[in-house]
Amino acid sequence: MMHVDVKKSLKSRGRSFTLDVSFASGEDAVVLFGPSGSGKTVTLQAIAGLITPDSGRITLKGRVLFDSEQGIDVPPRHRNLGYLFQDYALFPHMTVFQNVGYALKKPWRRLSKEDGRRAMEFMEVFEIAHLAKSYPGMISGGQRQRVALARALIRKPDLLLLDEPFSALDTLLRERLRRELREILARFNIPAVMITHDPEDIKAFAGALIVYEAGRVCDIHPSLKEFGDRDLRSIIFPDSCPTTCATRG
C-alpha cells in the first residue's frame, strides 16, 4: 500500500508551478498519466527523495519515507527504491558491468567476487552479458534501457519508479520492451509507479490510474481491471477531465 500526499512550489525565471497531489493505491502497478509539465516527474522524484516537498507525507508499505509534520525525510539512499530515468542516466564513464554492479560496490573497494558474479548473472537475465565491457555510449537505446533496469533492480528495491521508460525508443522497439518490462516486473515481483503519455502503456501496465492536470490529480481510477478498451478512451481523452480540476495556472 502506498500513500502519496505532496505539496511543492517550484519557481524558475519568474514562472511558478505548484504541485498539490494526493493519492493512495494498493495496486502493484500505478500509472501517472497527464500532459507534460503537469507535475508527474516532480511527484516521482519526491517519492524517491530526490526533491524535498514543502509539506506532505509519503508512506510505502507502512514505512514513512517523508512526513513534514514529524520532520521525517529519509535520504534517497535509504529509501530502497529503484528509479528508471527517462534518458536512463547510465554512468558514461563506467562499463555496462560497472553500471550494473554500481549499487553492490562499497566505496574505495573493488567489487567482491561474489557480487561480481551476481552482476554477471543479472546481466545474463537481461541479455546484456555480451556488452559487459562496452560503455553506454556504444550501445543501442533498447540495450541502454535493459542496463538501467538491471542496475536499478540489482538492489532488490521495494518499488520501481519509471519515468516515461519508452519515450526514447522507436515504436517497434517500444512494443517489444513493453512486453519485456511486464515480464521482468512479474518475475521480480516488484510493484511499480510509471509515468507515461502513451495510452498503450496504460493498457499494458495500469492497475491504478492517476490522471494529472496542471499540478493536480484530476482523476483517480483505483482499479482498471474492469475497464475495457472503450472505457479507457473515455478516461484518457482530454474532454473527460472533470471540471472540478479546472484550476489551471
Binding site: 524517491a48 527523495g49 530526490l50 530515468f85 554500481y102 566505496p107 536499478a152
Partner: protein, 233 residues
C-alpha cells in the same frame, strides 16, 4: 661551448626551485580550488556571489596588488603571518614558501573556475541516479561527479601549473629575488637580462618555453578519454 654549459648549469638552480614551487602551489590550489568548486556546485549559501568574486579576483588584479595583500596578510605583522610567527617563530616573507603562497593565490582562480564549470556541467540525473542506487553524497561526488568533471578540472590544473611557473610580480614582492633561495625562472630571466647576461637569459628562456610546451602537449594527451567515443547505431 663552455659558456653554454655554464649557463645551463646556472639555469638548473632556478629551474629546480621553480618546479618545486609550482608543483606544491598546484597541489594546494587543486585541493582548495576543487573543494571550493564542489561546495559551489552543490550548495546555495549567503554571500555565494561575493565569495565567487573573491576567489576569481587574482585573475584580474595586477600581481603587485596581490603581492601587497599577501604582505598585509602574511607579513610578520599580518593577520596570519603574526599568528604563524608567534606559533612557529618563522615568517613566510623572503622564503620559497612565500613564493608558493604567491603562486597559489595567483593560480587558484584557474582551478576554481574550471572545476566549478566542470562540476556544474555534470548531468544532475546521473548524480540523482547514484543517490537512488544507495550512494552517500561523498560517494556521489567521488564515484560520479568528480570522474565526469575530471577532464575540465585537469585542464584547469595544468593551466594553473603553467601560471604558477610563470608567476613574477606577487612572488617578487613577497619572496624577493634571492638567487638560489627565492629566485625562480621568471625572476632569473629578469635579473639576467638586467645584468646584460644574454647567454644565461637565452638558456633560461629556452628551458621555460620547452617546459611549457611539454605541459601543454601532455595535458592535451591526458584529456583524451576513451569512453567518449560515441558510436552511432
Amino acid at each position: 661551448m663552455q659558456a653554454m654549459t655554464d649557463a645551463i648549469a646556472t639555469a638548473l638552480i632556478p629551474l629546480a626551485l621553480t618546479l618545486k614551487v609550482a608543483s606544491i602551489a598546484t597541489l594546494l590550489t587543486f585541493g582548495i580550488g576543487v573543494g571550493l568548486a564542489a561546495v559551489f556546485a552543490r550548495r546555495k549559501f549567503f554571500g555565494r556571489d561575493w565569495l565567487d568574486a573573491v576567489a576569481t579576483l587574482p585573475l584580474v588584479m595586477p600581481p603587485t596588488v596581490l603581492g601587497y595583500y599577501l604582505i598585509v596578510v602574511m607579513g610578520r605583522n599580518g593577520w596570519i603571518g603574526h599568528w604563524i610567527y608567534d606559533a612557529f617563530g618563522v615568517t613566510l616573507m623572503f622564503t620559497w614558501q612565500g613564493a608558493v603562497a604567491a603562486s597559489s593565490v595567483v593560480s587558484l582562480p584557474l582551478v576554481f573556475k574550471s572545476a566549478r564549470s566542470a562540476l556544474e556541467g555534470v548531468d544532475h540525473n546521473l548524480e540523482k541516479a547514484a543517490r537512488t542506487l544507495g550512494s552517500s553524497e561523498a560517494e556521489v561526488f567521488f564515484r560520479v561527479s568528480l570522474p565526469l568533471a575530471w577532464r575540465g578540472i585537469l585542464a584547469g590544473t595544468m593551466l594553473a601549473f603553467a601560471r604558477a611557473m610563470g608567476e613574477f610580480g606577487a612572488t617578487l614582492m613577497v619572496a624577493g629575488n634571492i638567487p638560489g633561495k627565492t629566485q625562480t625562472l621568471s625572476l632569473a630571466v629578469y635579473s639576467a637580462t638586467q645584468a646584460g647576461n644574454d647567454g644565461l637569459a637565452a638558456a633560461l628562456v629556452a628551458i621555460t618555453s620547452l617546459i611549457c610546451m611539454i605541459v601543454l602537449v601532455s595535458s592535451g594527451k591526458i584529456l583524451k578519454t576513451d569512453y567518449l567515443q560515441e558510436v552511432d547505431r
